[in-house]
Every structure is written in C-alpha cells, then in structure tokens.
Amino acid sequence: MLLELKNIKKYFPSHIGFFGKVSSFVKAADGVDLTIVEGENFGLVGESGCGKTTLGRLAIKLLLCDSGEIIFKGRNIANLSAKKMRVFRQDIQMVFQDPFTSLDPRFTVRNILSEAMQFQKESLVKKEERMKELLLAVRLPADILGRFPHEFSGGERQRIAIARALSMNPKLLILDEAVSSLDVLVQEEILNLLLDLQQKFNVTYFFISHNLRVVKKICHKVAVMLNGRIVERGPCGEIFSNPLHPYTKQLLSAAIEYKVASNQKNIVLKENAKLIDQGGGHFVLEN
C-alpha cells in the first residue's frame, strides 16, 4: 500500500455573504476513498470541473483537505506541519498540466534541476553529473543545462518537468493532465517514455486525465470521478470492458464514438450512496 486516501473532503466556498457567512459550496472532493498500490499505476478520469486536479493537489498537500486522512507509507500526513512534511515531499512529486507555466521562465534548466536537488547532500560536481543523467533518461541532450525554458517545445518542456520530478527519486508521481496539452504524437512519445522510466526509477504513477485512451495505455487501475465523488473504480480492463455506472458508460461512449449521450446532465448522485463491490476489485456507486 503506497497511498491511501480516506474520506477526503474539500469544499470551496462559492458564495460568501456580507458578514463572512458561507452560504454555498463547491464540493471538489466529497468523501473520496482510494488506494494506490506500489507498482500499479492508478488513473483518475472524469470531466473537467469534477475535482480530479483538486484531488491530486490534496494528495500532495498543495491544498489542505477539510477532513479525511492521507496515509502515505503507513503514516497519516494530512495534518503534518510543513517542516515534518519535508521528509515526505521527495517521495511524492507532481508533473503539472501546462509545461509553459510549470517551469520558471527565468530559470535555466540547471537552476530548475538544482532547485529540486537542494535538499540532497551531494557535491556540486556529482549533482551536475546526475542532472546530465536525468536529461539523458528523459531523452534530452545533456548539454542543454544552460538554456532557458522558452527555447524548448512543449514536449521538451514536459520532459524537463518530468526530469525535475524524478530528480528527487519519488515513490509516487502524480501526473496532472501531464500530456493533455501536447499533440497526439508527442503524447505517445511521452507515454512510452513514462513506461520506460517506471522500470528505471521504480516509481508508481497517479495519472489524472480526461483522456481515456491515455489512461488505458498506462494504468492498471482506474477510478471515475463525478462531482467530487468516485462513481466507479476497478481494474482498468474491467472498467473499459464492463462499465456499470451510467456515467462511466456515457464517458466511454463519448470517448469512443465521439457521441455525447443525450441524458448527460441527468445523473444525480444520492447523498449517502456507497460503493458496492461487484467482485474482482470492481466497485460501483449505488444508484
């Protein structure tokens, strides 16, 4: 068990009254449970605005959850202070959606990588050596350390971002829509690269995406999210071949047949619905 999220809740106030009283919320995460096992890539899919990115940021504590437990390596890190959290920081890393804003335009590639390595006690020469190895690992030339991000294409930037995340030797890498801003061929390249890197760096991916094709290629387990709740989760093959929840069915049909089902907005999730075991690790939210 690498990471376990238990009953995670995060409500954002959407309307604040005159006296600071919050009258309505956006429920970005409404009691989410999920488990990521070491070595098994986990995919989280759902339409935009359903709370997947928020969930990723909650897991890495870029946002603090309102309630719930984040259990990483057997320890609840949900309420750890920033200082104690530092030990865990290098074990969970994140690659962001937009490679054009995830790299500081004023930092050279060397600065970007050395910022990630700042807590590692190594000599400068050795760090430089490691930087070059990392760049070669993500299939970039090793002599680009002095360059600025604006000199690279989107795909190259995303590789730099991946190199940065991997430089900390994480156990879990959260990829938040990491390939969705790239064109299809570059996506394919990056996905193959990620699969390669998994062997080399012994890392597990938590893949957040709206793109089912990408998830299918890289993930062993999938969860489908709607309005801050997980409606269905299970092994990847099972979900794709035998979707049970109506929302999953819609999502799949929209992705494969490019047809939007007519009753898309009609799914209402019951207040206290529970995930029901369908056998073989396949859970579906009761309807």
Binding site: R89, Q90, T101, S102, L103, T108, E115
Partner: protein
C-alpha cells in the same frame, strides 16, 4: 542569442535594447558625470563647502583669460575682482587689470580628507598667489558656488539612491509576503500601507522633520531624512508588488517548488520577486526624482540640511527673494541641476520601460 551554449537572460536582452536608445544613453552619461563629480567633490572643487570670503559676496562668474594685455597667449589666469557701490548700495564688480592670478592644476588648498578618510590638501584646479576663482559666481557670503554645487550634489544625489534602495527593499519584501500568504496577513499589512499612503507625503515629512530635535548635526539629520523618506516610500510599491505576487503565486512553477518542499521565503525570493523585477526597475528609476525633490523641498524650508553644509535644496533657498534673483541670477544654478537630474532619471525610466516591455510580451503572462 546563444553564446557557448549559455543563453542570454531576458534582462540581458532588455539591456541590449536599452543601449540602442541614444537619448537615454546620453542621460546615463550626464548622470554618470554628476555622480562622479559628487563623489570626488572634495578634490574637484577648488574650495571646501564652508570656505568664504566676504569681499566676494555675490561675485559674478569670473572670466578665464588666455591672452594677456600685451596680446600674447599665456597660461590661463583671472583678474582680481574689486567692487564699488552703485546708487542703490549694491556691489558692482569690476576686473582689476593690474593684478592677475594664474590658474594651476593640483594647487594647494585647505587640508581635507579625500573621500572622507585620506588626508589631502590638493585641489584639481585653483587660483594661485592668494587669488580666488569663482567659475560660476559666489553666494551672499562669498562662498564659491561651483564648489558648493559639487558638495551639495553629494547629499542631493545620494539621498535619492539610498532612500530608494531602502524603501524598495522593504516594499518588495513586505509586498511579496503580503501577496504570497494572503488572508489575514495580507489584510493587516495592506491596511497599514493605506494608513501611510493616506497622509499627503510632503506634509507628513514636514511634520516628522519638525519633531526632530534641533541640535542634530548634519550627518544625523541626513540619516533621519533617509529613514523618513523610506518610511513613507515603501507603501505604494508594496501595494503593487502584493498584487503581482498574488497572481504569480498560483503559477504552476510556484506550486512545483512548493511540492518540492522549498521554503516559503525562498519561493518569494526566487520565484515571485524576480518576476516583478521589470516593474520594480522602472519604478525605482521613476521614484528617485521624488526623493531628490523631497530633500530639496525640506532643505529649501530650512528643515533639511543646515548651513554651512550644502545641498541643492538649501543652496536654492538663497534664491527665494526676487532681489537676489535679479541681482545675482547664477544662484539659480542648483535649480537647474535638480531639473537636469530629474529629467535624466525620467528619460532613463521611460527607456527602461520600452526596453523591458517587449520581453514582458514575449513571456506572455506577466
């Protein structure tokens, strides 16, 4: 753009653009000359700031002669000036053609400490054989205006830079913290800023200066002026920087740094403040004149630097009466130098904005 595999940073590219702006480079040259002459004022000026000779009260700018009465070219010299009174009892100066004082380089004068610590008694130029030279005239007490302008430049030119440096340090830091943390911290800091900005700054300065004990020496007075200017100056910058920090903190590279466990203060210094730099550099250039004017204003009212010490403001305070201006127009010279300095800073500020803007556009998001 690439040199040995290392690339030009945005600032380097902006500086290349700036250098192409002839007018701005001219202003940089003028400022460089002014600052140079202020730094070496004690050596470059023929007299110390308090050297006076009442016989030369309101002496007009002297002519330097190269040709003697026999029509031959000699080394430069000045004639002795003598005065008579006209019907209004005002002094009329005339050259005494019988008595001439040759000018020399590295002449001996009153001993002083060069740059404040090296004992020295030579001046770049001066009149020999006990004569006096007043290139740009003298003031009411017969003190050389040229010398006093150079000495005054030390105060007037430095107070802008030091004041700006201090207030920008605080403005950036406080604005960065306020914007980055947000919430209550932000609320408290911004209310304090507004309290300071609410009061008209010149009157606040007058009030603060008036509270100072009267017997202070000029160095302490100078320090306190800097302190007061910085105290007033940081607030407006902090407000702008805070706004920028708020938008910058949600950038993904800031989130990435957070996820890597980089400390907050380090994020502010490496990922937030450098991105406000283009704005800050322009704002620095455009706020230096404000400090120079503030110093001149205070000294003009007699609240700043006190006689016999010179600053452009208190030199100008001699020119407050219409009689003095019509009678001895050269005492307006300090005003011209204030004007020149401010114009230069403003033109440089404009040019910097032109140079920095294209890179802002290229970055696309700032």
């Amino acid at each position: 753009m690439t040199k040995n595999g290392e690339s030009l940073s945005q600032l380097q590219m902006a500086m290349a653009t700036f250098r192409k702006n002839g007018l701005a480079m001219g202003c940089v040259t003028i400022l460089a000359i002014l600052y140079f002459s202020a730094i070496f004022a004690d050596f470059l000026s023929p007299y110390l700031y308090d050297n006076e000779d009442r016989n030369y009260s309101y002496c007009p700018p002297m002519k330097i002669h190269f040709i003697g009465e026999n029509g031959k070219i000699e080394r430069p010299f000045v004639y002795r000036m003598y005065f008579s009174f006209d019907e209004f009892h005002k002094r009329i100066y005339k050259e005494d053609k019988t008595q001439k004082y040759p000018l020399g380089l590295f002449v001996k004068g009153k001993p002083y400490r060069f740059l404040g610590f090296i004992p020295f008694d030579r001046h770049l130029f001066g009149a020999q054989n006990g004569g006096r030279i007043h290139l740009w005239g003298a003031d009411s007490r017969g003190r050389d205006l040229f010398s006093r302008l150079l000495w005054g430049g030390r105060v007037s030119l430095s107070i802008g830079l030091i004041g700006v440096t201090i207030s920008f340090f605080f403005g950036l830091l406080i604005g960065g913290i306020s914007g980055y943390y947000g919430g209550k911290t932000d609320n408290i800091i911004m209310r304090i800023c507004e309290m300071i900005m609410m009061i008209p700054s010149f009157y606040l300065m007058l009030a603060l200066m008036a509270t100072l004990p009267p017997g202070l020496n000029s160095i302490k007075r100078y320090m306190l002026m800097v302190a007061i200017f910085s105290f007033i100056g940081w607030a407006s910058l902090a407000r702008v920087i805070r706004g920028m920090a708020m938008s910058l903190k949600s950038r993904e590279y800031v989130l990435a740094a957070k996820a890597m466990g980089v400390s907050d203060i380090r994020i502010i210094f490496t990922h937030i403040l450098p991105h406000t730099m283009s704005y800050s550099i322009i704002a620095v250039m455009q706020s230096v004149p404000g400090y120079i004017i503030a110093e001149s204003g205070l000294s003009l009212f007699g609240l700043g630097i006190q006689d016999p010490y010179a600053s452009w403001g208190n030199l100008l305070s001699e020119a407050m009466g219409i009689i003095q201006i019509t009678f001895a127009p050269w005492i307006l010279l300090p005003g011209f130098f204030i004007f020149l300095t401010i114009i230069c800073f403003n033109i440089i500020g404009d040019a910097l904005r032109d140079a920095l803007d294209p890179t802002l556009k290229a970055e696309g998001r700032t």
